[in-house]
């Protein structure tokens, strides 16, 4: 089980309300896309799920977000456990300035007390395989990660994340720094990952949402306007504003 249920979620940055009465259910082992114009709150929503908004001073929330029936917005939530369970891929690939190998085992080194070399080696192999980088990089595991191409870096970041064994992957415009070819490859990877993970992707590209997601939510000015099966959103949207956006009347 790994689903997220959002119940009447409001969020303020100081006096600015960035999320208004958001209600949604993000299904298990599915790709859900969140689209909308810049500043509509889609990244903010994503960052509620792993409580990354906590880093911003002056953030306030009301309402609840249930991850597997447990409200994660209550103050005593174990953030370490939450973030192990819900991983995040960022807009710009952000590998650590360490070797490829050390990037991937970072999570393991932090979360376990005793680690054997063999365990680490296995983790690196499994993680690289699941992001389809193993063949390319198996002999370059100890090369600095910052020498990889942008696409490889983003794959590595996903591998680093998978090594922590999350259930849910949050992707915050993971392809916006990549060229179309690299984007296609990452999307292919996402389809692959869908079999084992719940994926929520925030994207500014409607085409991307249409290509890869099962369900799509459209956000505007902090509100979740419409949330439905992706084909419905793109073929027969119920709300006028959704239609205006997907037909390119603003955004």
């Amino acid at each position: 089980m790994a689903n997220i249920r959002v119940d009447n979620l409001d969020l303020w940055y100081g006096s600015f309300q960035a999320l208004k009465r958001v209600n949604a259910v993000f299904g298990e082992k599915r790709i859900t896309a969140v689209i909308g114009p810049s500043g509509c709150g889609k990244s903010t929503l994503l960052r509620v799920f792993n409580r990354m908004n906590d880093l911003v001073e002056g953030v306030r929330t009301t309402g609840s977000v249930f991850v597997d029936a447990e409200d994660i917005l209550v103050p005593h939530t174990n953030l370490v456990r939450l973030r192990k369970k819900i991983g995040m891929v960022f807009q710009r690939p952000n590998p650590f300035p360490l070797s490829i190998y050390e990037n991937i085992v970072f999570g393991e080194r932090i979360h376990s007390r005793r680690i054997s070399r063999d365990t680490l080696d296995d983790i690196v192999e499994a993680s690289l395989k699941s992001v389809l980088l193993w063949e390319e990089l198996k002999d370059k595991r100890h090369m600095p990660a910052l020498r990889l191409s942008l696409e490889q870096k983003q794959r590595l970041c996903i591998a680093r994340l998978l090594a922590v064994k999350p259930d849910i992957l949050l992707m915050d415009e993971p392809c916006s720094a990549l060229d179309p070819q690299a984007t296609a490859k990452i999307e292919e990877l996402m389809r692959e990952l869908k079999n084992n993970y719940t994926i929520i992707i925030v994207t500014h590209s409607m085409q991307q949402a249409a290509r890869i997601s099962d369900e799509t939510g459209f956000m505007l000015l902090g509100e979740l306007i419409e949330f439905d099966k992706t084909e419905n959103i793109f073929t027969r949207p119920k709300d006028r504003r959704t239609e205006d956006y997907i037909t390119g009347r603003y955004g």
Binding site: N50, M52, K84, I110, P144
Partner: protein, 283 residues
Amino acid sequence: MARNPYRSQKIAFFCLLLATLFIVVPVGMIVVVIIKKGIAGITWQFLTDVPRKGMRAGGIFPAIVGTVYLVTGAISFALPIGLFAAIYLSEYAKGNFLTRMIKLAIVNLAGVPSVVYGLFGLSLFVVFFKFGASILSGALTLGIMILPLIITASREALESVPASFREASLSLGASKWQTIRHIVLPNAVPGILTGTILGLGRAAGETAPILFTAAAFYLPRLPHSIFDQVMALPYHLYVISTQVPNVDEKIRYGTALVLVFLVLVMNLIAVVIRYQFRKKKKW
């Protein structure tokens, strides 16, 4: 007359070059003069012997040792405390009025004249804590003097580590402290070392802070404990240049040369360590 961007650019570059030369030439001349006049005084005996004949002959070994002790003591006191304070200020402290005042105060402390630190050390360490005039008092006084340098440089180094590294680490479930310990600190080492280098040079060269707290006028033996007084190079230089008549020029410039060389070697060590770290970390 039409504007000529090429000519104004030339004038601008010339002014910038002039300013650079204005800095480089005096420094170069100081070094040249010290080397020229001092090199004749550098002998094995000068480096390893105690001062003799009222400091007009013999060597400066106790002063070299004293300076090394004082600087080492000052750094081992100031680096950990300064670093911890910097971590607290940049990572944990909230950005409120109090924090801003503290940061401002630290920056201002860097500009306090060193003789004031000397008096402070005298009243706190020598008199109040009853450490007497000693290596301990002197090292602590120098340490406090270089704390603002180390805190400011370390804070800047910590803050210049990209936010994306912290986000990545936190999002993988690392705690804040693990993030600082494993991601932020290693990437801030070069900057922290830069602060340390500045502190080293300053601690080695200052006379005023050790004047009342540690430095002996004439003590032709090595210290036995950290509660002993010591001779120190900058103070010794002051003494043989102004307080003792008829000291040979080559002894005076020789002492200066040794002091400059000592600071250079300490800096060099820090630069090498910094280089090693920089080579590994690039973003």
